[in-house]
């Protein structure tokens, strides 16, 4: 430096002063600078999340419950030979349990157990169709709005806001009342899904905004990847984790929505086997024949509970910070 003279070399190396402490090398063996230590198996967010989930009993319990309900929904006849809506005899109206009818009968004289078993497929179908819809719409709107920004973001986000501002149960009631004549599982799912997707889109958009400013996105641009390929290959995979967690939970929400709408009489027509319908019809007999209400309600609660638990676990497992704190 021009303005500071270079200090001269001292004549000899100074004596070691008494308070100059040096640890024995044995205590702190030197390791190579930045040596590579890798675990036995590859790991990334998904692999780690799976390892985390695998060790949780609640995950397995919820999964078994969900799989069991899925089997019930697909093959109801494996579990009951009694037909749910034919052979109902008013002689059995509100009768108690009998041989082959473990929970007794409804007011119409139908077998409660059989109706509950056959109702599972409706609930699950609604749940899955709704999340298919919310995920597809949510990813389309959220990803494009977040990644491309500008006027497209304004447009897509405003459309989302419009749908978001209407409570989806209320909106579904209106839609179902208008489409009263066309009520079926698909129309009902559509009515719920159309108003439920903006929350998925919002979560994804926020995540995309975070990820798209990463240096690896800049590096990919500098390599020459097209914008769309960057979105699909680098940005979306890194943004999708919270969407998966929210989806599992919104599946539970959709099942509840179906039950609520059916309970209110604007869901599925009474000819459909559905937990919501059963609960709705059971309300007058609550005091005399409580199991007409209890059995389908229990089935509904257990299913919803299992999905919510598994959603929470997935959300935790996909969040390394939450994982570290446990």
């Amino acid at each position: 430096m021009s303005n500071t003279p270079i200090d001269t070399v001292p004549e000899k190396i100074p004596e070691r002063s008494p308070d100059h402490f040096v640890a024995a090398l044995d205590d702190t063996p030197l390791v190579d600078v930045d040596s590579v230590t890798v675990g036995e198996k590859p790991s990334n967010l998904w692999i780690d999340a799976w390892r985390d989930l695998r060790r949780r009993p609640t995950f397995w319990i919820s999964l078994v419950v969900i799989l069991f309900i899925a089997v019930v929904a697909i093959f109801p006849t494996l579990f009951t030979q009694v037909l749910p809506d034919q052979n109902c005899s008013l002689d059995n109206s509100n009768a108690g349990p009998a041989a082959g009818h473990p929970f007794g009968f409804t007011k119409q004289g139908c077998d409660i157990f059989s109706r509950t078993v056959h109702g599972a497929s409706t609930s699950l179908s609604v749940g899955f169709i709704v999340i298919l819809l919310t995920t597809v719409l949510g990813i389309l709107f959220g990803a494009f709005a977040g990644f491309y920004g500008g006027w497209l973001d304004s447009l897509l986000s405003r459309i989302g806001d419009i749908f978001f501002s209407i409570p989806y149960i209320l909106a579904a009631i209106v839609v179902m009342s208008v489409l009263f004549a066309y009520r079926n599982v698909f129309v009902l799912s559509l009515a719920i899904g159309i108003f439920a997707w903006p929350s998925t889109a919002r979560v994804l958009r926020a995540e995309i905004l975070r990820v798209k400013n990463s240096d690896f996105v800049m590096a990919a641009t500098a390599v020459g990847l097209t914008r769309f390929r960057i979105l699909m290959r680098h940005v979306l995979p890194n943004s999708i984790a919270p969407v998966i967690a929210i989806t599992t939970i919104s599946l539970a929400g959709a099942i509840v929505a179906e039950a609520s709408l059916s309970f209110l009489g604007v869901g599925l027509p009474p000819t459909f086997m559905s937990w919501g319908n059963d609960i709705s019809q059971a309300q007058s007999d609550l005091r005399t024949n409580p199991q007409t209400l209890i059995i389908p309600s229990l089935a509904l609660s257990i299913t919803v509970f299992a999905f919510i638990i598994i959603g929470e676990l997935i959300r935790d497992a996909l969040d390394p910070k939450a994982r570290a704190q446990r």
Binding site: P14, D19, I47
Partner: protein
């Protein structure tokens, strides 16, 4: 200090004895400190130096019981003025915190609450420590604290909010708050790491004056050995949760005895740049007789000695004939439209008529503090952003009109390495795919030859081939940066833009990466644009330097010239701010 203490033989203000701290993790308790001894006399300055993970911050936090929830003191004692702080109750320690021991945190941006005014927060600290009572009294004291902190028109500034303060100003406020109750001890945890060098210098000067005037002992933590030696009387070098060497700082710097300290001295850019200045002498000679026979020959210092790396580079460049300019930049300007404070449209000239050229096979460093526009220049060169005006010529060809195939060819020839090792790799793609992606995009070779190229690149950056199937989360910052370098090199570019590529790394790792970059340059005759805020690093890597300030290049010359004979006041200021510039090294 009370008079009685002055009469009795000096009792240490702080005496840490055999301190052990462990953290609860998924794999059980992990020891972070394995028996740390530190002694600090009243009114003295002590610096703890170490890399990230060495336990230096944990030590500081353990003193005032600010360990995070998962951390626990598992052994030893912390004697402060004779009291064992580790045995105090939450209430008792709260009384000591602030009143007797002040604390200045690392990140001034995160440690002031953005929703309260500065004045409110200072007053809160004053009230909490019982320094003054009554509204008027507290306010008066708060203004006084801010004045001492070096803020002009302090009473006006009281009403302002943290976002209206610069980083340096915020740190001044935090220092003021830490010293507001005239504590006996001030702990500063990397107080200036987030700040520009010139600001760092002013803040540390200020801190020094304040603590000297009030007789406050200062314990500060830093990763920069040069800084520590310059600012502290005593030095404690920590490594893997232990103290490996401690003593008078100048002595340790001139005569490092532990091989780890020798490594640090060899790798610290601030010291290396000074040694180069004073005649390119190797540190191994300066280290004297090694305490442990063989430590010096075992290559522990050699492999990361910056001085020898720089010397080798300089020699290599001297032997290469000049081969014309790879990059030429003429009147490059970038104007951003930003929203002003009142929501009105404003323009910001981020880059203002910048001119420079880089000869093929050489390194030019673009140096500047944050906001000087250096990264914007990089992004324009890389065509990640378009210039407002001016031109960039690569081998004489203007890059602005390039598109499609031609742009792809440009990208193939010029690749970047960015600063943040944790952000520059896609966490969900494995290392092999990350390095091979450019080959894929540019359709180079077939699957098999791409695979072979990935292995070749891993060899080049000294990473094991087995990493190809692994994901970034298993790698350290330095290793990630190697992967980023491998990715940049995969298309065999002839130009690499290094945007603060080593700034986030620990010194030893930084030295390794700098050496790797030098070797690669020699091997592949690369042209580097090396963007950095750290002039010390420039000294060891660059042939030419351009200093940027406020979007303009204020000085451009060869590295030797800039360091030996800086013309501009700003450059002199930057050079002066390199920590350790004023300590005799004894080499």
């Amino acid at each position: 200090m009370s008079t009685s203490e002055n009469l009795t033989p000096a009792r240490p203000l702080l005496e840490i004895k055999n301190l052990e701290v462990a953290f609860k993790t998924q794999n059980g308790m992990v020891k972070a400190l394995k028996g740390v001894d530190i002694t600090l006399m009243p009114g003295k300055t002590l610096a703890i130096v170490g890399e990230s993970g060495s336990g230096k911050s944990t030590t500081a936090h353990a003193i005032i019981n600010l360990l995070p929830g998962s951390g626990k003191i598992t052994g030893g004692e912390v004697l402060f003025d004779g009291k064992d702080l580790s045995k105090l109750s939450q209430k008792e320690i709260q009384f000591i915190r602030g009143r007797e021991i002040g604390f200045v945190p690392q990140d001034p941006m995160a440690n002031l609450n953005p929703v309260w005014s500065i004045g409110f927060q200072v007053e809160e600290a004053i009230r909490a420590n019982g320094i003054a009572k009554g509204r008027a009294e507290v306010k008066k004291r708060a203004i006084q604290v801010l004045k001492e902190a070096g803020l002009e028109d302090a009473d006006k500034r009281m009403k302002q909010f943290p976002h209206q303060f610069s980083g340096g100003m915020r740190q001044r406020v935090l220092i003021g708050m830490g010293l507001s109750s005239s504590p006996k001890l001030l702990i500063a945890d990397e107080p200036t790491s987030a700040l520009d060098v010139t600001v760092q210098r002013k803040i540390l000067d200020h801190l020094e004056t304040l603590t000297r005037d009030s007789g406050t002992a200062l314990l500060f933590i830093t990763h920069d050995l040069g800084l520590a030696a310059e600012r502290a009387e005593q030095l404690v070098v920590m490594y893997k949760g232990r103290v490996v060497e401690s003593g008078p700082s100048r002595e340790i710097l001139q005569n490092p005895l532990h091989p780890y300290t020798q490594r640090l001295v060899a790798a610290a850019p601030s010291l290396a740049s000074r040694r180069i200045q004073s005649g390119r002498q190797s540190v191994v000679a300066a280290a004297g007789t090694p305490l442990y026979a063989g430590a010096a020959d075992a290559g522990v210092t050699e492999s990361i000695d910056l001085v020898s790396a720089a010397a080798a580079r300089a020699e290599q460049v001297a032997h290469t004939p000049a081969a014309g300019n790879a990059i030429e930049v003429r009147d490059l300007t970038k104007i951003y439209k930003i929203r002003g404070a009142k929501g009105d449209a404003k323009t910001l000239k981020a880059v203002d008529s910048v001119n420079f050229s880089i000869a093929r096979g050489t390194t030019m460093a673009l140096v500047g503090e944050s906001g000087s526009g250096k990264s914007t220049v990089a992004r324009m060169l890389l065509r990640l952003e378009d210039a407002t005006s001016g031109e960039i010529r690569i081998d004489g060809v203007d890059t602005a009109p390039l598109a499609g195939r031609e742009l792809l060819n440009l990208r193939r020839r010029m690749q970047p390495v960015f600063q943040d090792p944790y952000g520059s790799l896609n966490p969900l793609r494995n290392i092999g795919n990350t390095i091979g992606e450019p080959l894929d995009v540019h359709k180079v070779g077939d699957r098999k030859s791409r695979r072979a190229r990935v292995f070749e690149l891993l060899d080049q950056v000294s990473l094991p081939r087995t990493l190809a199937g692994r994901y970034p989360n298993e790698l350290s910052g330095g290793q990630r940066q190697r992967v980023a370098i491998a990715r940049a090199l995969s298309l065999k570019p002839d130009m690499v833009i290094l945007d603060e590529a080593v700034s986030a790394l620990d010194v030893l790792v930084q030295a390794q990466i700098l050496r790797l970059l030098s070797e690669l340059q020699e091997e592949l005759s690369l042209t580097y644009l090396f963007i950095t805020h750290d002039l010390a690093v420039v000294r060891v890597i660059a042939d030419n330097v351009s200093v940027m300030q406020g979007g303009r290049i204020v000085e451009a010359a060869s590295t030797d010239e800039v360091f030996g004979n800086p013309r501009m006041e700003y450059t002199k200021e930057l050079l002066d701010a390199i920590p350790g510039a004023h300590i005799p090294l004894g080499v």
